[in-house]
Symmetry: C2
Subunit: 325 residues, 2 copies
DNA sequence: AATATGTTTGTAATCGATTACATTATCAGG
DNA sequence: CCTGATAATGTAATCGATTACAAACATATT
């Protein structure tokens, strides 16, 4: 029994002959070690939980891939759970960490309070990635949302747009930062910041379509729409067609996230690209570091971003080229 | 210690006063029961693993939601893992079942051999859903792929199309069934089945675009394209625009799965709708039944499907209406 | 007061793998 | 053939929660 364990753990002390014999018998009887017993004894599962708001999440799937790669490289397994942006459900999954079913947790989103997250993080390995919660004390990996939004808005203004609408989800921190960047650019360029051009969206296609409907029913419809996600931008595109407008012509569209959809829509979407793989990888590395070296102090990490220009801002691009600006 | 356990398990035998005291102390010291010890003793984790080929999977996310609901209702937790369609990786996750880290496994896809799956299923609770593996002996829940493809093809033919291309992934069983349905319809209507109209795709947007390129470079390009997934259909749409063609006009397009994208593309996609929620729910119910009642015999379950007609077959729709057919 | 009855609480074995420690096997050298 | 050293295997405690069973306690009955 002890020898079987030693064989399975590659303990060099067992004789080659017994090792072979053990392996053969294991094969014959179809024995499979019980991970519960092992983890209980070792006080480690070598398994990480990644929390996602939903499965079909284009952007986070890239982040998840990066995180997975980093985990596998260090011999950890990944499981995902889905919170559906529901705090109650999220708490149940967070319990997997408290109850030692996983060694660490990577949040890509959270409905928990800053206090809950801080408390959790002070006793257990946890990292936040992509989305972040204002005031929560736990290591965070993400982009500079304020700066990215600033750059997009400035680009639109310099490209000749004057009535720039923004669609954001005002309830999360990164959205608020994006709004701040947008305002900074407007202020800097002396463009009035008009409330009727701020529309709330929840990252979904449908909310983008609704926002679009509202915006293009205004007496002075926008000449550019900056959506806080590519999905919302897709909703805008779709609804503009339905309203008899030409997305990209009648208004420039800018998305966020650079998901695959952005490339295949007609017109293809200009968008903000975040390095998803890098973000996930870095977050996982921080987490594993915490697990294996619990007393280490950790800092937030900022990942670079870049603007990608496609058909949905082609008119602006032409303005730039023709020096019309 | 025994009493604490009894309190946590709501054993009515403990006195109300001690129960309160125990709960208070638990709160004070921040005690959280160790799930490993508990599961080890109870020989049950009340946790199910759902295997997905990738995270950002629009279609399977609906299936997963249905499965989740059914699981929560019966007090089971769900975790997901991602196989990236890699058999090696998949085996590692399947090990979670062998090692008792989960009570059951729900495959939505699999790269394992029929033999492996059959062996697994004969000793452990496992169900296959949506995708299926030919010859594998384990309960399966899905639609009648052959019939669905037959209906689509027939519809296209009756709508006046004569050069109908099909894009499918020939390596999986459901794709082969779809091809079979397609052939059946062609045969029935006396339309020649031309090999140059069979193009291979791997369910991705890109593969749809490639297939499209090939098809519309033929001397006799198709007048309809039936794609084995909405994503591939989206790739076709995109590439047709790029080739200066008009999807929906120059050729009817039919997708499969009815993911959200199908609704927002321009033109919106006609497609085959499978009841994702129902499929997931049913599969989970079968699985939980197996877990709680190991000796029960189970049968495959077929879920209904329906054809959804949108802009990408509008021309055909008009033919029907105008009685031109 | 003594016994019977019912209610709580405590004790110890158990789940399965790991591992420090004890024990046995192996073999070289005297 | 024995001693001593080393190599290999076995024994038993441990991780933390559960639960059959035993023990203690409280209350009612005669």
């Amino acid at each position: 029994m002890a020898t079987v364990s030693r064989v399975l753990n590659n303990d060099p002390v067992v004789a080659e002959s017994t090792r072979e014999h053990v392996l053969q018998v294991i094969n014959e009887v179809g024995y499979s070690p019980n991970a519960l017993g092992r983890s209980l004894r070792k006080n480690s599962t070598r398994r990480i939980l990644i929390l996602l708001p939903s499965i079909a999440h284009q952007f986070l799937s890239g982040v998840a891939r990066g995180a997975e790669q980093a985990a596998w490289r260090r011999g950890y397994q990944i499981v995902f759970s889905v919170t559906h942006s529901n705090a109650e459900l999220e708490r149940k999954y967070v319990n997997m960490l408290l109850q030692r079913s996983v060694d660490g947790i990577l949040f890509t989103t959270s409905q928990l309070t800053a206090q809950e997250l801080s408390g959790l993080s002070s006793h257990y390995p946890a990292v936040m990635c992509s989305e972040c919660v204002e005031g929560a004390k736990l290591p965070y990996v993400g982009i500079d949302n304020e700066q990215a939004a600033y750059e997009v808005t400035r680009y639109l203004i310099e490209g000749g747009c004057r009535r720039i609408a923004i669609i954001v989800h005002l309830e999360d921190y990164s959205s608020r930062l994006r709004l701040k960047g947008y305002k900074r650019a407007l202020l800097e360029k002396g463009i009035p910041d008009r409330m009727e051009y701020h529309v709330k969206g929840d990252y979904s296609i449908t909310s983008g379509a609704h926002a679009c409907q509202r915006l293009f029913s205004l007496p002075e419809p926008p000449d550019a729409v900056f959506a806080g996600s590519d999905l919302m931008a897709a909703g805008v595109v779709r609804r503009m067609y339905e309203m008899g407008l030409h997305p990209g012509e009648d208004a420039a569209i800018f998305g966020f996230d650079n998901i695959e959809l952005a490339r295949i829509l007609t017109p293809s979407l200009s968008t903000v690209s975040q390095s998803k793989l890098q973000m996930g990888r870095k977050a996982m590395e921080l987490l594993l570091e915490q697990i294996e070296n619990p007393q280490c102090e950790q800092e937030n990490v900022q990942i670079g971003h870049k603007l990608i220009f496609r058909e949905s801002t082609r008119r602006i691009e032409q303005n730039y080229k023709q020096g019309r600006v």
